[in-house]
């Protein structure tokens, strides 16, 4: 049988980063191909190339579709050939009805006007195909996430679909919804629609895949064709994590205190806007002076866990208990968390970590102004002194602390963010992706700072999607999967394979 799709020697670079390097794979008609890999392995980039989000001159390599070389300039070009992509973030308009959404951008016309009656009739046909049992007039916002996903698929089907790409379709679904979705993919397959699915859930992958590709650091490391023998989960995990540990982590002393500073039991958090539990059942202990790594895949609820601990900053409906230094505490706002000695260095420096239009010293003092003030008046000289001190201590590279933060590099911005929180003199420091988007040199500096801080007795929760970072920097590792804490491993006993196992089970 000839392949429906061939991607040959795809290489894509961003300034300073090779996102994909010589990746090739084939997908055969009426099959399901799975794409697996850690966060940042290059899966989404590969699919953006396939769907034409990156135009053909923006990467090297060839795409063959139906035996013909194709060159896409935009999403529209790939759609014309019957390639549809469904992103993790659903692209539906909540206030519009199901049928309006399905034919949005692809309206059925009578003359120059939209033929609404025909639209509704047609939409019912596609709803039936995806097995969604709602009236077409229903507004999309009233549907659950699983149902919305089906609407997306119906929308894709309405455009003469031959190849359907799904980016982590089951990440936000419960077990039953996930199983329904996988069944739908199998049904579509028997009706001649081929699918490519990106997924972190390896159980699903082995149950549904006819062929699969594992990506690691932008390279294809495992390629299973339909004719090959079915693959086992441990094999996939080994391929996913077996990278060279080329990142150097500073030597560190292991901290094995028995003194528990924070104990979290059966923590649950319900997100009202997403209408689901983002934290389902998390229990763990943080010991004084240790680094507790938090590992988990995208959407596992790592940042959400941090938000619940940091004064419920996202206003979830919470249950469970948090004990700090053996006292049960109820922390309702970030201010209360800060007063108790909890600090949170955000993963999103620009979005909610720093005030970019303000200068370095104002950012550093912004969470600890009380310490700088008397009768509500800020002492400007003291503020300058503090900022100068941090500039020196953790090496913020800038000509002046009066420099606007937006003019700093990612690494220096992160150091400002770190200084800001250290100045609140915390007992517990939550670091959320502390090295995301910063260069290797700054990374190493941040690692050294982390080690110094725990040596000084600070307790750190280190959230990271980079497994080597978690393994290289932690004393113990908490693994989270879909909002549930699945394991807490001592670093000496933790291997990448084992962590990945608990993160994907």
């Amino acid at each position: 049988m000839k392949p429906l799709l061939e991607m040959n020697h795809i290489t894509k670079t961003f300034p300073g980063v090779v996102a994909l390097s010589d990746v090739s794979f084939k997908v055969y008609p009426s099959s399901i191909h799975c794409l697996v890999g850690e966060n940042g392995a290059g899966k989404s980039t590969l699919m953006k190339i396939l769907s034409g989000v990156y135009a053909h001159h923006e990467f090297d390599g060839e795409i063959h579709f139906n035996q013909e070389r194709v060159q896409f300039n935009s999403l529209k070009d790939s759609q014309r050939l019957g390639i549809g992509i469904i992103h993790q973030e659903l692209a539906l308009i909540p206030e519009l009805s199901v049928y309006e959404n399905i034919f949005l951008g692809n309206e059925i016309k009578k003359g120059s006007m939209i033929d609404w009656n025909e639209t509704i009739v047609q939409s019912m046909k596609y709803l039936q195909m995806v097995g969604l049992n709602v009236v077409p007039e229903e507004k999309v916002k009233n549907l659950g996430v699983g149902q919305q996903q089906l609407v997306e698929i119906a929308k894709a089907l309405s455009k003469n679909l031959t190849l359907l790409i799904l980016d982590e379709p089951t990440a936000a679904l419960n077990d039953e919804e996930s199983e329904n979705l996988l069944q739908l993919l199998r049904n579509l397959k028997s009706n001649g629609v081929t699918s490519i699915m990106i997924s972190h859930k390896l159980k699903e992958v082995v149950s549904v895949a006819d062929s699969l590709t594992v990506l690691r650091d932008g390279k294809s490391v495992l390629d299973i064709e339909p004719s090959n023998e079915p693959v086992q989960i441990p094999t996939i995990i080994k391929a996913m994590v077996g990278r060279d540990l080329n990142e150097i982590f500073p030597k560190r002393v292991k901290h094995t205190s028995e003194d528990v500073i924070l104990r979290v039991s059966n923590l649950r958090g319900y997100d009202k806007s997403k209408q689901r539990h983002v934290v389902k059942d998390i229990s763990f202990e943080l010991r004084r002076g240790e680094v507790l790594g938090v590992a988990g895949l995208m959407g596992a609820g790592r940042t959400e866990l941090a938000m619940t601990l940091f004064g419920n900053a996202n206003n979830y409906v919470m249950s469970g208990t948090i004990e700090m230094e053996n006292n049960v505490v109820s922390i309702k706002t970030p201010k209360e968390a800060i007063d108790l000695g909890i600090a949170y260095v955000s993963e999103d420096r620009k979005g909610n970590g720093l005030i970019l239009i303000q200068d370095i010293k104002e950012n550093i003092s912004s969470a600890g102004l009380k310490r700088l003030s008397q009768y509500g008046f800020v002492n400007p000289n003291e503020e300058i002194k503090v900022a100068q001190q941090y500039k020196q201590d953790i090496n913020i590279k800038t000509p002046s602390i009066a420099q606007k933060v937006k003019n700093l590099s990612g690494g220096n911005q992160q150091k400002v963010s770190l200084s800001k929180w250290l100045y609140t003199s915390p007992k517990i420091l939550i670091l959320d992706e502390p090295t995301r988007g910063i260069d290797v040199g700054a990374k190493a500096e941040i690692y050294t700072i982390i080690n110094e801080l725990v040596n000084q007795g600070l307790s750190i929760i280190l959230i990271s999607s980079e497994l080597p970072e978690v393994l290289g920097m932690s004393d113990r590792v908490l693994v989270i999967n879909e909002g549930v804490s699945t394991a807490c491993l001592d670093i000496d006993a933790a291997s990448a394979e084992e962590v990945m196992m608990y993160a994907t089970q």
């Binding site: 909610n352 970590g353 720093l354 005030i355 303000q358 000289n381």
Partner: protein, 390 residues
């Protein structure tokens, strides 16, 4: 000398946003002075200009804070009109003591502001909508309370002094001596504080301009203050309006630049999400800022009623737009987080100078609106274009 000129040029270019307004003001004043044959810069006209700017200036101060936190308040014009009417009714119909009446209406204004803040912060209404509703409501309220009487004449001498009176002099003579003394004390304080700032900057190794340039700046600013004081002293001296606006500006300037509350306001405007994660209650700051706006709207209402010596049924019409224009002309960013109270005051003076100058040369009112609109556009374009100059 050439290096001096070079540095001056570099500094002007770097701080074009700060000096731009002053240059614009100087140009406007020069043009109208020429067109009016010197009448524009006469002591009487300048004194009048300040008194007419007063009730817009205090609104512009409050609006600066509102815009900094990324909101807007459209209700303040008719709130001011309504408050003026309430003050008049209290004094005329109920014979309430003038001080008590002032305190009551200031409290009422603050409550109205709190209501707006509540709608925006707790009910999540867009400020535009919440205060547009307020605009309608208080326009109606103003018509309601004045429906039986029409214009209410305020006979209270003390009340009418607020926007028409001048500080008494210590000596009889052609020149107003107390005004001169206050002016020179002001200059002394200005020079003293500039030196102090410079010293502490040097102490922390911050860049400072060279001594000749520094002294030139001191001389230049002092000369301007002297000139203004001289003009005022040649008429009736400093008016109570100038004193009131001066006090309001001083309090708000200190609040915004020196206190935790001010920092929190800038933080909320600069990045509300980051502010919230820094332990700042965005809702609380929003309520405080709208309450302060309400308080200043009430003050503006008092000043306007005093100026006209009466409460009228149309008092406050379009005040909000003058205040918003003043703030934008004064360099407040519509994107939030950036702006100075002192800038907005200059903005208010720029807009008032335009109106006053155009009136003086007898420009038709229709053209006056068009010119003011264009100046607002030019000011904001200038602001946007110079924003990213490093």
């Amino acid at each position: 000398m050439t290096s001096f000129m070079k540095e001056l040029w570099v500094q002007l270019k770097l701080n074009v946003r700060d000096y731009g307004m002053f240059i614009a003001l100087a140009v406007i004043m020069a043009i109208f002075s020429y067109l009016s044959g010197g009448l524009f810069l006469s002591p009487r006209n300048i004194s009048n200009l300040f008194n007419q700017t007063g009730y817009i200036a205090v609104l512009a101060v409050g609006m600066t804070l509102v815009i900094i936190i990324r909101h807007i308040d459209l209700s303040i014009g008719f709130v001011a009109g309504f408050i003026g009417a309430v003050a008049a009714i209290l004094m005329v119909q109920y014979q309430v003591n003038v001080w008590l009446a002032i305190i009551i209406v200031l409290a009422l204004g603050t409550l109205i502001g709190l209501w707006n803040g509540f709608l925006v912060a707790k009910m999540n209404l867009p400020a535009f909508v919440a205060t547009l509703a307020g605009m309608l409501i208080f326009r109606g309220a103003l018509l309601q309370v004045t429906s039986s009487t029409g214009t209410i004449i305020i006979p209270n001498r003390f009340f009418n002094m607020i926007s028409n009176g001048f500080i008494p002099d210590i000596m009889k003579g052609r020149l107003h001596v107390l005004t001169l003394i206050i002016g020179f004390l002001g200059i002394a304080y200005y020079i003293f504080s500039e030196f102090k700032t410079r010293q502490s900057k040097i102490k922390y190794n911050f860049e400072v301009v060279s001594m000749p340039l520094f002294l030139s700046k001191l001389f230049f600013v002092s000369a301007i203050i002297t000139w203004v004081v001289w003009i005022l002293a040649n008429f009736n001296g400093i008016s109570y309006t100038v004193i009131i606006v001066g006090v309001v500006v001083m309090i708000y300037h200190t609040l915004m630049s020196k206190t935790i509350l001010g920092r929190h306001i800038y933080a909320v405007g600069g990045n509300p999400d980051a502010a919230a994660l820094s332990g700042i209650s965005v809702n609380k700051i929003t309520m405080i800022v709208f309450s302060s706006m309400g308080f200043l709207a009430a003050l503006s209402g008092i000043m306007f009623a005093s100026r006209l010596q009466s409460a009228t049924v149309t008092a406050g019409t379009l005040f909000e737009l003058d205040a918003i224009a003043a703030a934008f002309v004064g360099g407040v960013s519509a994107k939030g987080g950036v702006g100075r109270v002192t800038g907005s005051i200059i903005g208010a003076i720029v807009m008032a100078s335009l109106s006053s100058g155009m009136n003086l040369i007898g420009l038709d009112i229709s053209l006056q609106y068009i010119v003011r609109g264009l100046v607002l556009v030019i000011a904001v374009v200038f602001d946007v274009k110079t924003r990213n100059v490093k």
